[in-house]
Amino acid sequence: MMDAARLETIISRYDGEPYDLIPILQDIQDSYGFLPKEEVKAVARRLKVPLTQVYSVATFYKMFTLVPKGRHQIRVCLGTTCHLKGGQRLADSLSSRLGVKVGHTTADGQFSLETVGCLGSCAQAPVMMIDDHYFGRVTVDKVPKLLKPFQQAADSTP
C-alpha cells in the first residue's frame, strides 16, 4: 500500500512542475531505495507528465531502479585507472564471494553489487565504495576483511 504522506513530503519540496521530475524521482530513490510502481504513477499524475515519459526517465538513468536494492550498496569502480589496476578482478572476486552477479542483489537482500564508470579517486585505484565509505588500493585478498563489518552489521539488525 502506498504511503501517501511520505510521498507528499517529497513532492512538496518542489514546484510541482514537469521539470521537477528528476529531482523528485531522485528523492524517492534515495528514500525508498528504488522507485515503487504506485509512487511513480502518483508522480506522473501530480506533475501532469505522461507515465511513458516517467518510465523513459526512470530507465534511462543508471541511478534509478524499479526493483528494491540490498541493504548495502557495493560499487566497484571501473574507471580507466581502476581498469588498468585490476578493478575487473575485484568485481569478479566480490561477485564470486557474495554469490551474486554484477547488477544484482544477494538472495538475503544484504548486498547489491554494481560497477560504475569512475568514482573520482583514481590515485588510489582500484577503488570501491560500500554505501558512503570509500576504500582505496583494494587488492583481492583484502575483500573478506572489508566486507566483514557490513556483514556483521547486517546480522545484528533484526
Binding site: 543508471k62 534509478f64 564508470g117 569512475c118 573520482g120 588510489q124 585505484a125 570509500y134 585478498d141
Partner: protein, 617 residues
C-alpha cells in the same frame, strides 16, 4: 554570518576577519580530498581532535580538514602551519607522535616526511617537494588553505573580491571584454573562448537568460572538478555570479553528478552561506543585481556531460543531445539563451577579474592561456592533482612532477582527454600540452585526465575498454554512434579472442570515419579517438593479437594461460579458495594444478599467490 547590504559592510567585515587572524597560529590541515578520503582522512582528523584535547592544545591549535593537497599517492597528507611542514602517509597511529613531537615540541617526525624518489632528499616543508615546485597554482590555490565549509576562510583569502570589483565599477560589457582579452578558453574539453561565448549570449535579445556550471565530470580517470567543487566551492559560485552579471542572467544551475555526494553537500552549503551573506538573491551587495542558483543532481548518465543533453536533463527529460546550431548561447535551457561552462572555467574567473586580463594572458602559450589542472594517475610515482601553465611538456608533467614510472618500468603511453581522447606514445613526450598540439597528435585536452601507462598495459585492451565504456553510455539516439560502437565492441571481442583476421583493422578505420563525420554529438564523434590513436601508434600490438594470437602485455584474458610452478607452490591453498570456478586442485601443502578446461583466466589466483608460483603467459 551577517547579511551584507552594501560593499562597505563587506569591507568592514573583511577588516574584522583580518584583525582576528593570527598568522602564527598553529594549524593542522588534514587532507580530505578525493585521494586521501578513501585512505581514512576523517579517522585521522578525529585522532588529531582527541590527541590535541588530551594535551590541552585545543586553544592553541586550529584543526581543519582541507581540500585536495595534491600529492595523492602519499595520502593521508597532513600540513602543519605556519611552518608548512608536510607529512605524508599519516595513519591514525602516527597522530599522537605528531602531536607530541611537532605541535608540542616543534620537532619533526622524520619517517613521515617526503623523500624524493630521484635524489633521495628528505623534504620537510611543502615548498621543498619537487612535485609542488613545478606547479603554478591558480584554480587550486586555496585548496590547502581553507576549510571548504567556512565562508570566513574564503573571505579572509580574498574571496568575493572580484564580485565587489565588478559590481562597484565595471559594466557587464567591460567584464566580458576583460575575460575575452584574458584568452580564457573553456576547460571542459572543446576549448571554446569563454569571453566570446558570454558575448554571444549577452547579445541575444531576451529577458530570461541562464547560466550553468557543468559539474558532470564523467570522464573516467578525471577528478579535477570534484576536487574543486569539494575543496573550494565558493570560487565556483563567485565565478558564476560574476558571469551572470556579465551576461544578464538571473538564474543559474550547478549540475553535479550524483556519484559525488560530498561535492553536492559542499556546494549546497556554500549556496546557503552565500544567500545568507547576500552574495546571492535580490539586490546583491546593494547593486540592484539579482541572481540565484540551485543544484541539479545528475542521475548517472555519462552523456549528460554533453551540454545539450545536460540541459535536457535539467528540464526533466532523458539526456539525449540535440544537433547544434542553435548553440546554447542562442537557445539553451528552456529555450532561453544560456551560457554553460565547466567547473574549472568558472573557478578561473575570479582571479582573472582580480588580477587582470594581461596578467592571465602572460601565462601559457600563444593560443592557450593560463593554467590547466590535470589529474595525473596510473603508472606514475606521484599520482595526484597538478596545475601547470599551458605549454608545459608531457615529460615535465610525468617525470619532473610525477616522479617518473614506478618499479623501474618503461613508459609506454599517456592517455589524455578521457574516452574522447587518445593515447600518446613516447615520441611525443616533449609535446607542449595545450589545446592545439594535443589535437595535432590525435588526442584532445578534454577535461584534464592524464593516465600514464607502462609496459604492463595493453593498448588494444585500453582502446577496447573505452569503446566498451562508450557503448554502455551512448544514449542510442543516432545510428552511427549506437551501431558503430556496437560493431567496434564485436570487432574488439574478435581481436582479444584470437578470432580476428587481417581485414579487421581496415574495417575499424572505415567505421571510425563514419562515426566521426555522422554522429550527432561529441560522444560519438570523438569515440573513435582511442581507436585511431592506438591503431596509429601501436599497430604492432594489434597485429600481435591478430597474427600471433598473443597479447604482448599479458592483459587480454582469452589469450593468456595460467599454470602453477610446482617448484614454487607451497600448497597454501590461497588460490584454491579464491578460484571462482573450482579449477585448481591438489593436496594441502603439495603443489596445486590448474585445470585448463575449467579455467576462466580471471587471474585471481595470480593476484593472491604470495609465492609467485602462478605463471602467466
Amino acid at each position: 554570518m551577517p547579511r551584507f547590504a552594501t560593499v562597505d559592510q563587506l569591507r568592514q567585515y573583511r577588516r574584522q576577519l583580518a584583525a582576528g587572524y593570527d598568522p602564527q597560529q598553529l594549524q593542522v590541515l588534514v587532507c580530505a580530498g578525493p585521494g586521501c578520503l578513501p585512505l581514512g582522512s576523517l579517522e585521522v582528523a578525529a585522532a588529531f581532535r582527541t590527541a590535541c584535547a588530551e594535551k590541552g592544545l585545543n586553544e592553541r591549535v586550529i584543526l581543519k580538514t582541507s581540500g585536495c593537497q595534491g600529492l595523492c599517492a602519499k595520502g593521508v597528507r597532513v600540513l602543519i602551519r605556519p611552518q608548512e611542514i608536510s607529512y605524508e602517509q599519516v595513519t591514525v597511529e602516527d597522530v599522537p607522535e605528531i602531536v607530541a613531537t611537532t605541535l608540542v615540541n616543534g620537532g619533526i617526525v622524520d619517517r613521515l616526511v617526503h623523500q624524493d624518489p630521484l635524489s633521495q632528499a628528505k623534504c620537510i616543508h611543502k615548498w621543498e617537494i619537487p612535485f609542488y615546485q613545478h606547479q603554478h597554482l591558480m584554480v587550486l590555490r586555496h585548496l590547502d588553505l581553507l576549510d571548504p565549509e567556512s565562508l570566513d576562510d574564503y573571505l579572509r583569502l580574498g574571496g568575493y573580491l572580484s564580485l565587489e570589483k565588478v559590481l562597484l565599477g565595471m559594466t557587464p560589457e567591460e567584464v566580458i571584454d576583460l575575460v575575452e582579452r584574458s584568452g580564457l578558453r573553456g576547460r571542459g574539453g572543446a576549448g571554446f573562448p569563454t569571453g566570446r561565448k558570454w558575448r554571444l549570449c549577452r547579445e541575444v535579445p531576451g529577458e530570461v537568460k541562464f547560466i550553468i556550471c557543468n559539474g558532470d565530470e564523467g570522464d573516467p580517470g578525471a577528478f579535477m572538478d570534484r576536487a574543486v567543487m569539494e575543496g573550494d566551492p565558493h570560487a565556483v559560485l563567485e565565478g558564476m555570479i560574476v558571469g551572470a552579471y556579465a551576461i544578464g542572467a538571473r538564474r543559474g544551475y550547478i549540475y553535479v553528478r550524483h556519484e559525488y555526494p560530498l561535492a553536492v553537500k559542499r556546494l549546497q552549503l556554500a549556496i546557503d552561506q552565500a544567500r545568507e551573506a547576500g552574495f546571492l538573491g535580490q539586490d546583491i551587495l546593494g547593486s540592484g543585481f539579482d541572481f540565484d542558483l540551485r543544484i541539479a543532481r545528475g542521475s548517472g548518465a555519462f552523456v549528460c556531460g554533453e551540454e545539450t543533453a545536460l540541459m535536457a536533463s535539467i528540464e526533466g527529460l532523458i539526456g539525449e543531445p540535440i544537433p547544434r546550431p542553435p548553440y546554447p548561447a542562442q537557445s539553451g535551457l528552456f529555450g532561453q539563451p544560456t551560457v554553460i561552462n565547466n567547473v574549472e572555467t568558472w573557478a578561473n574567473v575570479p582571479e582573472i577579474i582580480n588580477r587582470g586580463a594581461e596578467w592571465y594572458a602572460s601565462l601559457g602559450t600563444e593560443r592557450s592561456k593560463g593554467t590547466k589542472v590535470f589529474s595525473l594517475v596510473g603508472a606514475v610515482n606521484h599520482t595526484g592533482l597538478v596545475e601547470v601553465p599551458m605549454g608545459t611538456t608531457l615529460r615535465q608533467i610525468i617525470f619532473d612532477l610525477g616522479g617518473g614510472i614506478p618499479g623501474g618500468k618503461e613508459f609506454k603511453a599517456v592517455q589524455t582527454g578521457g574516452p574522447s581522447g587518445g593515447c600518446i606514445p613516447k615520441q611525443f613526450l616533449d609535446l607542449p600540452v595545450d589545446y592545439d598540439s594535443l589535437q595535432e597528435v590525435g588526442s584532445i585536452m578534454g577535461s584534464g585526465g592524464m593516465i600514464v601507462m607502462d609496459e604492463t598495459s595493453c593498448m588494444v585492451d585500453v582502446a577496447r575498454y573505452f569503446i566498451g565504456f562508450l557503448y554502455e553510455e551512448s544514449c542510442g539516439k543516432c545510428t552511427p554512434c549506437r551501431e558503430g560502437l556496437r560493431q567496434l565492441v564485436h570487432l574488439y571481442e574478435d581481436i582479444i579472442h584470437g578470432r580476428a583476421e587481417e581485414g579487421h583493422l581496415a574495417l575499424m578505420e572505415e567505421l571510425c570515419a563514419v562515426m566521426r563525420s555522422a554522429s550527432i554529438c561529441g560522444l560519438g564523434q570523438s569515440a573513435v579517438n582511442p581507436v585511431l590513436t592506438t591503431l596509429k601508434y601501436f599497430r604492432e600490438e594489434y597485429e600481435a593479437h591478430i597474427r600471433d594470437k598473443k597479447c604482448p602485455a599479458l592483459v587480454c584474458r582469452p589469450l593468456l594461460k595460467y599454470t602453477i610452478d610446482p617448484e614454487a607452490c607451497t600448497g597454501c591453498l590461497a588460490c584454491v579458495r579464491e578460484c571462482p570456478v573450482g579449477a585448481i586442485s591438489g593436496r594441502k601443502k603439495e603443489p596445486q594444478e590448474i585445470d585448463q578446461e575449467l579455467c576462466v583466466k580471471c587471474g585471481l589466483c595470480y593476484e593472491v599467490c604470495q609465492f609467485d608460483a602462478v605463471r602467466r603467459e
